[in-house]
Amino acid sequence: MAFLEIFMRWFLIDKFIEIQKGKYAKAIRNITLGEDHLHDHFPTFPVMPNSLIIESLAQTAGILAGYSEDFEQNVILSKITKAVFHRMARPGDQLLLEARIVDLRDEGAWLDASATVDGEMLAEASLMFVHWRGELPSGRPLSNFVFNEEFVSFFWANLAPPSIKEKKNSPSAR
């Protein structure tokens, strides 16, 4: 229970297929009728809300940016510069989420992301993240609250693609 209280997040990706540090990530997300919110959006015609598609893309892009810096930065979505939707996402669809780093620098990260279903373009977005390095009102430095310890172990156990898991576990990479 304690684990859930600390860690419960709303994951909008199911797993990563590929992550290339500093460059590119590919993840998937299956949409199912088992998701409660689809029953109201819309009654008798379930559609994944576009705002949640953006969140899926932002999670793919944000985790790529975070992983590229060994999860040492607080990566915060700060701007959706562009978002274009070409079709609806419905139960049974498998979203292929792709993110590309345009630039990763000290202040933050700029990424382009897209979602396709069966090779058909569903959504495109340009996203901007900032690195948050503030301090608490008490003056204590802010700890890493985005990619905290629980998230990082969950990532390696469940989300990370096999290719980078192997690299992490091989003795030469240490």
Partner: protein, 128 residues
Amino acid sequence: MADKQEVLQKVQEILTDALGVDEEEVAEDASLVADLGAESIDFLDIVFRLEKTFNIKIPRGDLFPEDLLSDEQYVQEGKITPEGLKVLKEKVPYADLNEFEKNPDVSGVANLFTVGMIVSYVTDRLAS
């Protein structure tokens, strides 16, 4: 030497993308905040795009001296002090401060940041 018209055109493209506005809205005298709806986070985005497009490095606070506003020496009771105005003139020689000096309210600082100011800054940087 960079042609000012060429710089203006590129700056207009940058602002069209960064702020999601129409190109015809991005007139030279348009204020980034009042006319084009820029928010604080957009300034970081604009600086990034300028650096990338023009291949220059813009030190923090060089183009948009936002740190000045949190300094008590330069801001008192919501107004920029005479010392503050002096620093502002040094830091933003590209901005037109004549009108602003009559009522140096902090809330008006953002209006100094215009499309033309960015164009002058970039043109100078490319020339040096």
